[in-house]
């Protein structure tokens, strides 16, 4: 089969964008949702609607258990991490508020903040170092300067793999009367995330990246007592349909409209899968990412963004070559070798600007479930051949 007809890559290394393949329990759960759970969850008391409602209920509990959320009603299903970030930011910040945010944020945070800035919210950006790490001392200095409503930071970078010190940042925020809001898109699954232990006030998570669920579903944790303004209003099915106000109770307050049952049920299965296999998977990913990182550093002309080998990172390895552009590398990786990797700015212009790659971009490899040592060896051989030719 010619390269441009090959839909399935030989080596899928774009887990930073989305995970593939999916574990069989996730596939089975989605198929079951589509074949057996046909009723509209929360919209009827007949058996098939109840079964759908129960499946979503169980999925929420499985996700809450995985993430250390005591009351699963505080864990909201969203259409993705981006939707969760929008609700988290636009729901809790008001004109006149001041926000301290790290410079490594993805556009899922940067763009809503840019919108909020136009509404009169002050944005103070704390620049990360060249490895992508936000120094908590810098955040404390910024928070101390003026009254601050919120500290906003990612859990891990989608460009450099850098793991931010979110728990420390939450402590700093709370010491100064601010709330801590986290974009965890690259965190859950690749990191063991205990939201209660982190002490954050809100945490948005992707369902389809490290969590290994289907696309089109994500999570938002809102701490008890943290009220966010509703962003989407509509039907919720249960008690209170006579009112034109959204219900006060979670999760319905933030989940208007028919739920994405296949996505949510698949995500619940993924949470169950990670509860059993997650620790071993994280160890494997870390080892493969380290081999890839060290291997790229061994090829002349490459530099790898982010922390040096030996410093923990989520399994993302982005590289820049001194002579061959990242887009060219990604194209040849795909067409000649069947390797899926992503070039460009990765929807993270702030992060690229921070680490000095805004003008050239980078080629990014994301390791995850299904990645093997053979994939890493193939990628390293391909990179060597591409820049040597």
């Amino acid at each position: 089969m010619s390269a441009d007809k090959r839909a399935v890559p030989v080596a899928y290394l774009d887990h930073g964008a989305t995970s593939w393949p999916k574990p069989q329990p996730v596939i089975d759960a989605v198929v079951r949702a589509l074949t057996e759970l046909g009723g509209n969850p929360g919209r009827g008391a007949y058996a098939m609607a109840l079964d759908a409602s129960r499946a979503i209920f169980e999925a929420r509990r499985a996700c809450a258990q995985l993430l250390g959320v005591a009351d699963s009603r505080d864990l909201l299903f969203q259409s993705g991490c981006t939707a969760g970030c929008n609700l988290m930011l636009k729901g809790t910040l008001k004109p006149g508020d001041r926000v301290v945010v790290g410079s490594m944020e993805h556009n899922a945070v940067a763009r809503p903040l840019a919108h909020l800035a136009r509404l009169g919210i002050e944005i103070a950006v704390v620049k990360a170092d060249r490895t992508g790490l936000i120094d908590p001392d810098d955040v404390e200095r910024a928070v101390r300067q003026e009254p601050t409503r919120a500290v906003v930071c990612q859990h891990a970078s989608n460009l450099t793999g850098t793991i931010q010190l979110v728990g420390d940042l939450a402590d700093i925020a709370h010491e100064h009367g601010a709330i801590m809001l986290v974009d965890g898109a690259q965190g859950v699954g690749h990191l063991e995330v205990d939201i209660a232990a982190l002490g954050v006030d809100a945490y948005a998570a992707s369902g389809h990246k490290g969590m290994l669920g289907p696309q089109g579903v994500g999570l938002l944790y809102l701490a008890p007592g943290l009220e966010a303004d509703v962003q989407i209003e509509g039907g919720t099915g249960a008690g209170g349909s006579e009112s034109l106000e959204m219900p006060a109770e979670r999760p319905d307050r933030y989940e208007a409209g028919t739920a994405n049952t296949p996505g949510i049920v698949g995500l619940g299965a993924a949470a169950g899968f990670l509860a059993g296999e997650g620790a071993a998977q994280r160890d494997l990913e870390a080892d493969l990412a380290r081999r890839l990182h060290e291997g790229i550093l061994g090829i002349e002309g490459f530099r790898v963004l982010g922390p040096p080998p030996g410093v923990p990172r989520v399994p993302i390895v982005s590289a820049v070559h001194e002579r061959v552009d990242g887009d060219r590398i990604a194209f040849v990786l795909d067409r000649t070798y069947g390797i899926a990797a992503r070039a460009g700015l990765h929807c993270a212009p702030w992060a690229h600007d921070t680490v000095g790659t805004f003008e050239c971009g980078a080629v990014r490899f994301g390791v995850g479930w299904g990645t093997t040592g053979a994939h890493i060896e193939l990628a390293l051989r391909a990179l060597h051949e591409i820049v040597s030719s």
Binding site: A45, F57, R73, A238, G239, S241, E242, P247, E249, D252
Partner: protein
Amino acid sequence: MSVREPRTFAIFGFATTHTALAAEQLLKDLGVPVTPIPAPKSLGGALCGIALRIDPLDAERAELLLERADLSPRARGEIEDV
């Protein structure tokens, strides 16, 4: 085929489907039989969604158990059913 006489059941209505299902699971786990039913108008207001039907002899204990678990019903009523 025998015909059962209608009798009175207690019914609990909840603010959300999630709370109703959590209450159903809790009560069943603790040996209190409950049946989800379409929320009737007798619960007050134009409630939609589901309610839990329960033997009136179990209602007081059930409500106590639900209160302890932060799953208290938002509305209470009675219904004639078979």
